[in-house]
């Protein structure tokens, strides 16, 4: 059935994009956090 391709694509794109944004966010945070003293981080 052709439909299944469209359905799978919808879900893969949805979950994939969420995963990619989460990954990019964490990686960028890691890079930046090194350059900022812990004292200045309000969440610690």
């Amino acid at each position: 059935m052709d439909d299944i391709g469209f359905i799978l694509a919808s879900w893969l794109i949805t979950l994939g994009s969420i995963g990619v944004l989460a990954f990019v966010t964490l990686r960028r945070a890691r890079q930046l956090a090194e350059h900022v003293p812990d004292e200045a981080k309000p969440w610690l």
Binding site: A9, W11, L21, A22, A33, D38, W43
Partner: protein, 249 residues
């Protein structure tokens, strides 16, 4: 050793909960919910499409509210402005996903990927507005001026949301009217379908909260790294420490 993460116990709990709920939604969407009497299997796209659209609305409304607060506060700290920005970023992601999944779903049921129909057009316009908003936020300059500029834009942009949501009632549209969030209050959904849809909304909300917390902290780091408010932040922490130490004596 400098902490290298924007994660805390709270975000970890939210993150794990989000993964667990979304795993359930996928299982239910593919294996538990029935095919629709009219649309057949393609209805399974709904459990990603509808929550994505709703969370995009939620994100843009959050941006509007936090922008309003950031404008109204006399002593401007950048906290609310950063939440506004983070929320808009996540909103743009979800709105984009709603457009893509909607287009795929439309191909299966309507027989077309895209039409300039009221709902689709207003949604695309909303998406483009917030892409513009994010671009404006990223034009460098004094962070306080940036905050003010983007807050005004956000308060204007949020007005588009009712137009998008009610476009299917205001005008004739190829897009079906709302099955849940409709003015007459009827829910036109099979029970299991409704439960799965609801789970999807919970799962995406958790993702939204997790993402906004992390991206807001990321924005803080970005500002701090460029030296914005670094002294103030450290002084605030020192005072906090002093107050605790003083209170203990």
């Amino acid at each position: 050793m400098v902490s290298r993460s924007t994660g805390t116990t709270t975000t970890r709990v939210i993150g794990i909960a989000a993964i667990a709920v979304l795993a359930w939604v996928v299982v239910s969407a593919f294996f538990i919910t029935p095919a629709d009497f009219q649309q057949g299997e393609s209805v399974r796209i709904m459990y990603a499409h509808v929550p994505a659209a709703w969370i995009a609305y939620l994100a843009f409304i959050t941006t509007g509210i936090t922008s309003g607060i950031s404008l109204a506060r006399r002593h401007r700290t950048l906290g609310f402005d950063r939440v506004a920005g983070a929320s808009a970023e996540v909103g743009v992601l979800f709105m984009g996903l709603a457009l893509i999944t909607g287009s795929l779903w439309g191909r299966l049921t309507w027989g077309t990927f895209w039409q300039w129909d009221p709902r689709l057009t207003t949604t695309l316009f909303l998406f483009v507005t917030y892409v513009g908003y994010l671009a404006v936020r990223n034009i460098d300059g004094d962070p306080h001026r940036r905050a003010k500029r983007s807050a005004i834009l956000a308060l204007l942009a949020v007005l588009e949301i009712p137009l998008v949501h009610f476009s299917v009632v205001l005008w004739r549209s190829l897009h079906q009217e709302a099955s849940v969030l409709n003015p007459d209050g009827d829910v036109r959904l099979d029970d299991m379908m409704l439960f799965t849809l609801f789970s999807g909304v919970v799962g995406f909300t958790l993702v939204f909260v997790w993402m906004v917390i992390h991206r807001q902290r990321l924005a803080t780091l970005r500002d701090l790294q460029q030296g914005v408010g670094l002294d103030a932040a450290i002084a605030a922490r020192r005072n906090e420490g002093a107050a605790i130490a003083g209170g203990g004596q």
